[in-house]
């Protein structure tokens, strides 16, 4: 790193060449400077201690960052699934294969900002509520690239799109700000999978922000697989905005990384919308997982389902906050929220905060949170049938996680997640291979 390169977030934001997004960047960096990294006295940050990153000067990534295909091969799904790869935020033409599908436009945000910024107006950063969150504000202030997926009215993505963000870093700490915007027109259908991956131990801050905007009669499925390296702080943000008769799902699989915090916000703005937010997190060592959710029921007759499961070992910690907001007049709202924690050691910790904010009187909102160990009766039953103790434990962990993984529709992603889970469980050699 040469000394004349901008190092503070503010300098970095100001150094970005002017384009159609400059005004928003300026607003966002100003906002970030106002709020900075909150302390744990801040309600939204009570469970994630930002002190380890607050004093770090994060540089921008080397614009020539590359990764070889071999090193990212383990993170791939189907060979023929269209993919777009970024390394430390830098687009990798050599391993990206995605191109437009009929009725589906897949573009780099950098190109759209340069050529036709109007396509992003009122969309990019319109739903992510970056004003409330330093990571999201920072992502907006430093936004230069990412992926825009636009599905035309009546069009369907014929196959899922896989976007891979590799966190690689170097000797100096860097921050990267991955960005995805999916805009689905009326009667559109599609699936987008993100993988946030890395194998390096370098210090990296990544603040991925994804916005899913659905018109009417839309079916959209989104997955975010997180397998970061040991030095990567992952502070993510997801925003869903749904029109009427829509079903939009987002599932976060937090498998690897020292700190994985995900903020998810679903807004049901048209009647008969269905928002499905799922998450599975695996924590061991001193890992920390936080899922911070908010579902806004703005209109009547919508449904939301939140199901988050955390498997915690050693000294791992997990926090779940889920707010269900039901606006005045949003009658017949049907909202269900669950957070289940499986504690595999006496030193693992979990916290759950369900929050209901309801301004309508004819609604059905339920929440449930549990923290517990493996069921001793089930353990005995399996063991009595000849399954060794460790394998029985592993089988019950698989069963616990299965409730989330069974709903992962893309087969290659589901298989990858199941295999990752199986391989980290003890006595995997005893477990029958799932066919």
């Amino acid at each position: 790193m040469t000394t004349n390169q901008p190092c503070t977030f503010s300098d970095r934001s100001k150094a970005i060449a002017p384009d159609g997004f400059t005004a928003r960047r300026t607003e966002a960096i100003d906002r970030f400077q106002e709020i900075l990294w909150p302390t744990m006295r801040d309600e939204a940050w009570r469970y994630t201690d930002t002190r380890p990153i607050a004093s770090v000067e994060f540089a921008a990534a080397d614009p020539a960052s590359t990764a070889d295909l071999e090193s990212i091969a383990p993170f791939m799904l189907d060979d023929d699934m269209p993919k777009i790869v970024f390394v430390d935020g830098v687009y990798q033409a050599s391993c990206s294969t995605a191109s437009n599908m009929p009725g589906v436009h897949i573009d780099r945000i950098a190109n759209v900002l340069a050529s036709d910024p109007q396509r992003l107006a009122d969309r990019l950063s319109a739903h992510a509520d970056w004003q409330d969150d330093p990571a999201s504000a920072l992502s907006t202030a430093l936004l230069t690239d990412g992926v825009l997926v636009e599905i035309e009215d009546g069009a369907s993505m014929r196959e899922p799109l896989h976007i891979i963000f590799v966190s690689q870093g170097g000797p100096d700490p860097i921050s990267v700000h991955p960005r995805v915007l999916v805009v689905a027109g009326n009667n559109a259908k599609g699936t987008v999978i993100e993988s946030h991956v890395g194998t390096s131990e370098h210090t990296i801050l990544t603040t991925p922000v994804t916005e899913l905007i659905a018109g009417n009669d839309v079916r959209l499925d989104h997955y975010r697989m997180v397998r970061e390296g040991e030095g990567t702080w992952h502070l993510g943000d997801l925003a869903l905005h749904q029109g009427s008769n829509t079903e939009v799902s987002s599932c976060v699989l937090a498998f690897d990384g020292p700190v994985i915090r995900t903020r998810m916000r679903g807004t049901l703005a048209g009647e008969h919308g269905n928002a499905i937010l799922h998450g599975l997190a695996l924590g061991h060592g001193k890992r920390h997982i936080e899922n911070l959710l908010r579902v806004n029921h703005m209109v009547p007759n919508c449904r939301s389902r939140e199901a988050f499961k955390h498997v915690l070992e050693d000294n791992a910690t997990a926090a779940f906050t889920g707010r269900i907001y039901v606006a005045e007049g949003a009658q017949k709202t049907d909202a269900v929220q669950t957070n289940r924690n499986l504690l595999l050691s006496s030193t693992a910790r979990s916290t759950a905060r369900p929050q209901l904010e309801i301004y309508a009187d004819d609604v059905k909102c339920t929440h449930g949170a549990t923290a517990g160990e493996l069921d001793p009766e089930a353990m005995f039953y399996l063991q009595a049938r000849g399954v060794p103790t460790e394998a029985a434990r592993s089988m019950l962990v698989q069963a616990f996680a299965g409730e989330i993984l069974d709903d992962v529709a893309p087969a290659s992603l589901r298989a990858q997640a199941m295999m990752l889970l199986r391989n980290r469980l003890p006595a995997a050699e005893h477990l029958a291979v799932i066919e």
């Binding site: 005995f380 063991q383 049938r385 000849g386 399954v387 005893h430 029958a432």
Partner: protein, 252 residues
């Protein structure tokens, strides 16, 4: 041969079994009857290795293996099988996955080759037919949403799959209607062989009309107070457990 000698067991410092002596030779079917709370199910769970119970005295030896020295899964590998009175539901684990893991763990432990997918499925089909078990149940979670009869049939099916040498049936007749009872009893009878021994635990004589025992024991208050042939079960049905106790007092 299953040899139980002077077995004492307690839970939360409360003695339940107070000196059980029982020897079941290969090929024999013994029945253990007794009133509620006499310790019948405790004996079944202690044999299988439930850690909730503390063994304070005695021994359990199966074909030369000291079962009290080993974990439940090793007892299964040694040839013990206990059909649960209340089979546990395990959401998220399919019957097929569970059973394939179980059978191959046992085979590995016994030094046998693991079954491949084809061999496993062939065996499943053959053994499921023995108890008229619907094969669709195998793709469901373990005991998940099974009816009472399906659960008991699934237990006997698992027994047939795992081919144990000592089978403990803990009130397998409870909650079964007469048709299901016959199917379960038929399954058990098909498994009777000179190398296999059974301990059929039941509250009622009814099951013993279908699975005819060689020896009948009466358990009261943690002790076997009387042993006889199948005639004893019929007398019990007629006169009740109090009768045995009175008779014992008179004999003494």
């Amino acid at each position: 041969m299953l040899q139980i000698t002077n077995l004492h067991a307690s839970i939360d410092d409360q003695p339940i079994l107070r000196g059980i002596d029982l020897c079941i030779k290969d090929g024999e079917v013994h029945s253990l009857m007794g009133p509620n709370g006499s310790g019948k199910s405790t004996l079944a769970k202690v044999l299988a290795g439930d850690e909730a119970y503390e063994i304070t005295e005695g021994s359990i030896v199966l074909n030369g293996h000291d079962l009290l020295e080993v974990d439940p899964h090793e007892r299964a590998a040694a040839g013990l099988f206990m059909a649960f009175q209340y089979p546990v539901e395990i959401p998220g684990v399919t019957m097929k996955y569970f059973l394939r893991t179980a059978i191959n763990s046992i085979r590995k432990n016994r030094g046998q080759d693991e079954l491949d997918a084809y061999e496993f499925l062939s065996l499943v089909k053959e053994r499921a037919a023995m108890v008229e078990l619907d094969l669709d149940l195998l793709d469901r979670p373990v005991n998940g949403g099974f009816s009472g009869g399906e659960k008991k049939r699934a237990e006997i099916f698992q027994m047939a799959m795992l081919e144990p040498t000592a089978c403990i049936l803990d009130e397998t007749d409870s909650g079964l209607d007469i048709d299901a009872l016959k199917i379960v009893a038929d399954g058990v009878n098909k498994m009777r062989s000179p190398e296999r021994s059974f301990l059929v635990i039941t509250h009622y004589q009814r099951l013993l009309s279908y699975i005819v025992p060689d020896v009948v024991h009466v358990l009261v208050d943690g002790r076997i107070i009387r042993t006889g042939d199948k005639q004893l079960a019929l007398e019990l049905e007629e006169h009740g457990y109090a009768w045995v106790e009175q008779k014992n007092a008179v004999d003494a």
